[in-house]
Symmetry: C2
Subunit: 246 residues, 2 copies
């Protein structure tokens, strides 16, 4: 398929260049400009042309910049380079539409009549599941799986009743950006009568050479976290059948 | 990364060869044997070597064969070819762990001490979302997204309360294999006080040249289905924010 789009919002997958889609690789190879976030995978940027200009668009540690302001800067850059006729790749970890804010950038570009496409990527939860042999769905056992963000909103976890009901139905919950607040999340699940022996899998740095799976359970989590410090990024799989196939 | 595995369970994505991962493409190119299901995308099989033996392992229309029997045959074939030292690719539509029965085959191979890996694929719900510009998550709006199978179990839909609670929380539900029973599913959701104007997106044949998006809503579904017959395979996105970005 020819690429007539000036702007491609591209899912980079979990970080391993082999887990890019072929379309994502082509867009990166052909890009004049790449606007990238913290990808945790420099190897992917190295697939671009030597002439490609690579611009970091993510957070800097304690830079104090407001999220809205940062997002507006990204929008302005997308527009600027597209109007110059450059091929712009907006590179995002995982899949652009799973907790990736891809929709905001897409909406901006459509409003500005900029020709844009979105290229899907392997999202962290599913990359972790396949890499570490943790089934997401099992025939006859569970009929669903939930993506959930461990980022709090308005000071608390939202939709926690739904998360609890998914786990109680023997289905897995894939928690994104949830390591920092995991103990609080788990306490809220216990309050809603989720079984205390529910397995927890913490998949750390999936798709990187130092990827590692940590296995614990709801009742053992506090002790586990005193003894272990799983490196970021990490995605967490919660649920009775969220265990390794052996 | 070198491939030391004799058996690779490979997610083929939605059907467009460009949406294969690079690793999936390499496994297909190097395969001696490919065991494939109904992929709805012959283009992907054509990426294999001319010497590769391609064996259809899916259902035949009204072949009357029992699911368990078919699955046991697949297991036997995986073992047979792997013991002959062949590189075997077990090719599955979408992602092997999202309603793909990949876990059963993985479990069998591990039990038999066969060297196996699982390669993730772009799952239909996320492919549909990115292709048709339907956001899955929106910052500040929804904190989750649900995969759900529209296949009934024991004569009914399971976990329907959870599905309803996800939609009521403004989050999307991606329904797999759900077209046939969609009216019944929707009636059950209405019984649980899901809003009757909830948008429904039916993404038909995503990743193929004839891909098409059909838009309707819960209250308009019956009339819509009288006038339209979306071709299979189709994935359905339900929910207030499951609408196209414009």
């Amino acid at each position: 398929m020819a690429n007539d789009h000036l702007i491609s919002i591209v899912g980079a997958g979990p970080g391993d260049p082999e887990l890019l889609t072929i379309r994502a690789l082509r867009r990166i190879e052909q890009a004049d400009i790449i606007l990238y976030d913290a990808l945790h995978g420099e190897d992917i940027l190295e697939l671009s042309s030597p002439k490609c200009i690579k611009i970091y668009a993510g957070k800097h540690y304690q830079d104090g910049q407001h999220q809205t302001e940062r997002q507006e800067q990204i929008h302005a850059q997308l527009k600027l380079y597209a109007l110059q006729g450059k091929r712009v790749v907006r590179l995002k970890a995982g899949d652009p539409f799973i907790f990736g804010r891809g929709a905001e950038e897409l909406e901006f570009c459509l409003r500005e009549n900029l020709c844009i496409e979105v290229v899907p990527g392997i999202t962290a939860g599913l990359a972790a599941a396949t890499t570490f042999h943790i089934p997401v769905t099992l025939r006859g056992v569970n009929s669903m799986a939930l993506f959930y963000t461990g980022h709090k909103r308005n000071g608390g976890f939202v939709d926690i009743e739904t998360v609890a009901s998914v786990i109680k139905a023997n289905a897995p919950v894939m928690v994104y950006m949830g390591l920092k607040n995991l103990e609080i999340l788990v306490a809220e699940l216990l309050d809603r009568e989720v079984a205390s022996d529910t397995p927890i899998q913490i998949a750390s740095r999936v798709g990187h050479n130092d990827q590692q799976l940590y296995t614990t359970s709801i009742c053992e989590l506090s002790q586990f976290l005193q003894q272990n410090d799983p490196p970021m990024p990490a995605v967490i799989l919660l649920g009775a059948y969220a265990h390794k196939v052996r």
